[in-house]
Amino acid sequence: MKNFVDENFELNEVQKLEGHTDRVWGLAWKPAAGIDGVPAVLASCSGDKTVRIWEQSPATGCFQCKAVLEDTHTRTVRSCAWSPSGKYLATASFDATTAIWEDAGGDFSCVATLEGHENEVKSVSWNASGSLLATCGRDKSVWIWEVLPHNEFDCISVLQGHTQDVKMVQWHPSVNILISCSYDNSIKVWAEDGDSDDWHCVQTLNQSNSGHTSTVWALSFNASGDKMVTCSDDLTIKIWGCDIIRMQSGDGNAPWMHISTLSGYHDRTIFSIHWSRDGIICSGAADDAMRFFIESKDDLVDGPYYKLIYKKEKAHEMDINAVQWSSLENNRLASASDDGTIKIWEFISAPGKKMHL
């Protein structure tokens, strides 16, 4: 992996996407797009109850709104996620449903609606193979759905355990374990019980084991899946690690351990965090700023430590709700804000020089 520590960085605003008529809550880059001639595609979801699909024009490089998915959700759309194949987009809404949209060459149709949550659904995530979907919400529960043929979705588990609103769920990038984070200040790890198809909580990370002391808003895994980063209303970012070999060999009980807490960098709630494929952590916060951190390999006596390498103040006019690195182009990322806009950025090292792989 490239060593970034001694480099100078620049964050350039490539484009500002306008169109939503309310705050933008979430973003998702379409997998398998943005490479080999296939134009990059970004989905965004908003308090205006719609989802917008933005596509980059191969000729000009500009993103244009190709579709507006409306008249389906009746309240805020809070989260969106593409299936690993890019064929489906799941959208989670305050209207207590999760809609599944099929992308038929630019034409989107809602092919399924998942009901069950008692109130606002806050997050949706597909597992690595696309065989499972997870949702969570204010009703404190996490639901796991099995993806069946002919656009059928079967709920296989309703997981209780959090004592408050669950803000986000994320599947591990390679193993079928699910992590959730909540208004109850904790992070929970959920795994299947051997072969019994029984899902349960295998670990809880809270104040008693170096966890957060206020609402945990988001989490993100690194590319190899041996680490995850969480962000919170407690103004800190925490890095956690696990024994990935043990986890990949089928031991869902391999515990997550606290590695590092980054405090003093944020003085407002951190709403979003995303770990890029080449190891850069980007945070989006309520002070309208984006911050970038990397792992420093300098002093390994006490384990890895993390450095702030760049800060973009006033990245937006208002709170930043989502930051997402592009799944394919390493130096590109998108941000979404309460100001109703989305921005596309290029994060490069040294002025005029593009980061090379």
């Binding site: 308090g47 805020t76 208004y183 206020s214 609402t215 209303d233 309520a286 709170d319």
Partner: protein, 140 residues
Amino acid sequence: MVVSNMVSGLINANPVVYERKERQTRSAPGDVDEYAHIRDVKDPEHPYSLEELKVITEDAIEVDDKRSYVRVTFTPTVEHCSMATVIGLCLRVDIRVAPGSHASEAAVNKQLNDKERVAAALENPNLVDMVDECLAPSYG
């Protein structure tokens, strides 16, 4: 967010009503301007403003221009005031109840400072109606 007691009766039927402070124009901007915006917000249960019921006072507003924040501390008239969350929704800034003034102080503060919870609550028509009532200008 539970808004109860709508049918059974008022949370505080007999509030103490204080005199409205004379409005003075001041040269320096800051705390006083913010107070001017909030003093007239009406109590959800009575035709008095939050200022008249001493739910908000000038001292309870902190303004930090440099770090761009305004914090308002409000004191519900009774300790178990379930109207606290409604009042909080009318005051759209960093908000908290005065320490010691409410039984579920931490819980109320946390909800009011969670913008996602506030956004979802404001999509609830019943709650919106109550908030709109409080925010409606009073004449005379």
